[in-house]
Amino acid sequence: MRSNPLVTEVLVGITRAGKALLDYLGLLVLQAVVLFLWWPKVGVAEMLESQHGPHTLAAVVMAVGVTMAYFSLRAGAEEVMLPGQHGLRDWALATPLGPGRVLRGYLLGQLIHSLYLLALSSPLLLMAFTVSGGEWIALAWCLAAVLIQAMFYRLCGAITHLTIGQHRGESYFAVRAILLLMYVPVGWLVPLTSPIAFTSRALGESTAAQSEFASVPGAWVFLAVYAGMSVLAAIVLHRLLARARRGMAGPNDGAAFGKAVAS
């Protein structure tokens, strides 16, 4: 794993303080605020009287999911980078590494970085875990969803960067528009792709038995949809990198994305 220089770069980068960490600390404050706001305001007896348990864990997991998706999009668009980390285009153009190896290292690095960010959020998750039911399987599913979602958004960010990255303003808005689009209209119209709905199903009260959550087809569908979309995005990214390597597409040509998809 460490033989891939992109992975090494991430492993070194996460031990150094930089803008990326500071940015995520800001998002961690947001998660902490969510945890504080959703912390049970009444006692156990009152909860039993109302027959509604606390939604603390679901709220925190949703917050972690959204913030990590946002962070991954920005990281993909190279708005935030780890200290000493190089851009994807630099790896493709300035090194003899093949696009496949670059992509593998990029994805693995993203996974490691996401796990590190999850670890940063882990005290918050553990605080909410017991009061909200404490079902490890459901939490594991949700965290897996967060990771695969982050992967997808990272790839989307990278595609955005490779296609319109030279237009900083457009790239800035495109990154945020992707997040908004995927969370609000797509999530609303196709609930199976909604991470909010997924977390709500997994950790909410409607689930009769959370240990049986894995048997719910929606859980697999969500992961499969995001995995499928990630694979498609990875293929597009690979083609973009290959095209960039071959110098067949101009670096400032916004039509590269369309051509890469068409080919």
Partner: protein, 701 residues
């Protein structure tokens, strides 16, 4: 392999075609065989026909709606060995408002080939429009299913059970409201739980021995009498039956032989209308407990003896023999002797509101709560602050790389561990909880006590909530409040190696509540003597449990007794002015303190339990004129067991023993019983025989 290969290749060019043709013919033949074989494969429902279900509802297939009733289910297996479960589905609730709920009573069932088994359930049949559904399951597969139509088995009257081979007491039948219906059940089908006698007004035993009953059946009968049942035993020429251990333990006295009575003497005792043309033989009694309600000279004809809150009558003559079998006055004689109390109102039809459950206050007082917002805030601030400090440190100290690496991981590892310790299961237990509030009311003159239970289960995680329990065998039912509100849940009750209860609602943070009642062994004997010098209490705690924070309330005064250890016998004198706290009729409840180590809020469940009792005893008052009340705490007999033994239990058990105060020096120095009937001829004390028989029955159980 090589040989086969040679053989195949040696078949020449036409061989593959021939082989293909043969294969095709074989396939067609196989298809035909398959089609022919399909009808021969029995579908699952047909396979289930090897198991038969037969059921007897109540007594001789007669039951009274709105009462607990026994249900005997006989399963016959004509096929191979069956290992599964027998399930009885009962529909309860308000049919008019369509607020129905289901209870599933389950038992393990193992049946070998060509064998039969009868299992008894005690079920609460609230209505009659929904049939009972009985299933035999093996895993998820239903082997047999039967629906029992209840509409044809209803009796509106109270039941009189006659256990006899030849007695005919049909003259007691009365179709009027609050009337009686005489049934002649087979002794082997009598209830195994005392609550199964709910619809029964009285039991008459004639010419049979109770030795035929199983241990649990006799135990159920004994408990039913202790909680207020009436047993009448007829004498006769075969008086040896009455000398058998079980009957002699219950009867006021043991027959020693027969006495010849002249007709005129009997006519004087009963009525002139009794047609007696020749002498009659009646059982001869020696000493007996209780009192003689009817005598002929010195010969007792009807002897009555109190057993707990119930009574046992011994009619020394043969009620089905000459001349009583043809006497028109027998009905009046029976009714006069039995003195049947009016039928109790069905709890749900009672107009008064049901008091709140004591479970919620118990949870409030005893359950660990969530960490406060302040704790959460400080924890989060510390964590984020430390991360920021680490960021600042590593940004400046670029030379010390190891320190930067440490700071990148140390806070999250440290705080993850701290979060688990401060907010995790060690502080706030994860999973299922049980909560039980009990009111134990010992019966006077009995080793038994009534146990009124409020049981609840809840969990802070979703999933199955199956509570296995021990210590009591209560009949359980959704709370009256839930039934009135129309939100009673569906439940599973089971028996097996361990009794269990399980709500079918698996949501977290939902308190699933039940009410239950039982008669438990709780041998507490007390006598209160109201003497000129003051009050004297003799208390014998043979209950096996320590009584804590015990108070004696009598005649507007309360006396503190403290703790009484299990097995202790105390005799204390109280002078009103010195020892007594003057209290009113109601404020005495304020005297009670929570058990040691419990917060003051623990008193709320006690208050609710006592309020209930006060409402129940509204007419006579509580403890009422001429009665003292011993009140305190003890350990709850209902406890999680088996797989649920580790469940946290929030519990409280209140003892309330109502004792009739004896004037002066009556029965001084003896650990007498609470109730001493006025006009007793002989000592009204439970004999060692009764205790031994009952204790033996409990040991067997």
């Amino acid at each position: 392999m090589v040989a086969n290969g040679d053989m195949v290749t040696g078949q020449g060019r036409g061989a593959p075609h021939r082989a293909r043709g043969l294969q095709s013919r074989l396939q067609r033949l196989a298809d035909v065989f398959l089609l022919l074989a399909l009808p021969c494969v029995p579908p699952p429902t047909m396979a289930a026909s090897t198991v038969d279900i037969a059921a007897v509802v109540g007594f001789t297939d007669t039951y009274q709606p709105g009462r607990w009733t026994p249900l005997n289910v006989t399963v016959t297996n004509h096929g191979g060995d069956v290992a599964g479960e027998l399930e009885v589905q009962v529909t309860g609730g308000d049919e008019l408002r369509n607020r129905l709920f289901l209870t599933f009573n389950r038992r393990k069932l193992e049946l070998h080939r060509d064998s039969r088994k009868t299992l008894q359930f005690t079920v609460f049949l609230q209505g009659l429009s929904h049939p009972l559904v009985i299933r035999v399951r093996s895993g998820e597969r239903v082997l047999a299913r039967a629906e029992i139509d209840l509409r044809t088995r209803v009796a509106a009257e109270r039941l009189v059970l006659v256990l006899s081979r030849d007695a005919d007491l049909d003259y007691l039948n009365d179709g009027a409201a609050n009337g009686l219906r005489v049934l002649y059940p087979h002794p082997e089908l009598l209830p195994v739980h005392w609550r199964g006698y709910d619809a029964v007004a009285a039991i008459v035993v004639h010419g049979i021995s109770l030795e035929r009953l199983s241990g649990s059946q006799f135990d159920a009968l004994h408990k039913w009498i202790a909680q207020g049942g009436i047993l009448a035993v007829s004498g006769g020429p075969d008086y040896a039956l009455l000398r058998s251990p079980r009957l002699s333990a219950l009867l006021p006295g043991v027959p020693l032989g027969m006495t010849r009575m002249d007709g005129s003497v009997l006519q004087r005792a009963f009525s002139a209308s009794l047609d007696v043309s020749r002498p009659v033989h009646v059982n001869r009694l020696g000493t007996f407990r209780g009192r003689a309600r009817l005598r002929a000279g010195t010969v007792p004809l009807i002897v009555e003896h109190a057993l707990g809150l119930g009574r046992v009558l011994y009619l020394t003559f043969d009620v089905a023999g000459y001349p009583f079998d043809r006497w028109n006055g027998m009905r009046e004689l029976w009714l006069d002797s039995l003195r049947l109390p009016p039928a109790p109102k069905l709890s749900l039809s009672a107009p008064e509101p049901v008091l709140a459950s004591p479970l919620m206050p118990l949870i409030r007082a005893q359950t660990a709560n969530f960490a406060s917002h302040a704790t959460v805030f400080y924890f989060l601030a510390l964590y984020l602050g430390l991360l920021l400090a680490g960021y600042g440190l590593s940004a400046r100290q670029t030379r010390r790389r190891w320190l930067a690496s440490l700071w990148s991981w140390a806070p999250m590892v440290l705080f993850a561990a701290a979060a688990w310790l401060l907010f995790g299961p060690t502080v706030f237990p994860r999973g299922a909880n049980a909560v039980a509030a009990a009111l134990i009311e010992p019966f006077p003159d009995s080793i038994y006590a009534r146990l009124a239970l409020d049981v609840g289960v809840y969990s802070n995680r979703s999933g199955a909530l199956r509570l296995e329990y021990r210590g009591a065998e209560p009949v359980l039912y959704p709370t009256r409040q839930a039934q009135r509100d129309g939100n009673a849940e569906n439940w599973v009750f089971g028996e097996g190696p361990q009794r269990f209860l399980e709500p079918l609602d698996r949501r977290r943070y939902v308190l699933h509540q039940l009410e239950g009642e039982d008669v438990i062994t709780f041998n507490l004997n007390a006598s209160v003597h109201d003497e000129a010098a003051g009050l004297r209490l003799v208390l014998d705690n043979a209950s096996g449990r320590t009584l804590k924070d015990l108070w004696l309330v009598f005649d507007g005064y309360a006396y503190e007794l403290g703790s009484i250890e299990a097995g202790a016998r105390v005799e204390r004198g109280f002078v009103r002015r010195t020892h007594g706290l003057e209290v009113g009729e109601a404020p005495w409840k304020r005297l009670l303190k929570p058990p040691p180590g419990r917060p003051v809020q623990t008193m709320e469940p006690t208050r609710i339990l006592l309020e209930r009792k006060l409402r129940e005893m509204r007419e006579s008052g509580y403890p009422g004129r001429g009665h003292a009340l011993l009140i305190g705490y003890t350990e709850n007999p209902f406890r999680p067991a088996g797989a649920s033994a580790g469940w946290p239990l929030q519990e409280q058990a209140l003892i309330a023993f109502r004792v009739a105060a004896l004037p002066g020096n009556a029965a001084a120095g003896k650990a007498g019983k609470g109730l001493l009937e006025p006009g007793n001829v002989d000592s009204d004390r439970q004999s060692p025989g009764v205790r031994d028989a009952a204790a033996g029955a409990n040991r067997r159980r």
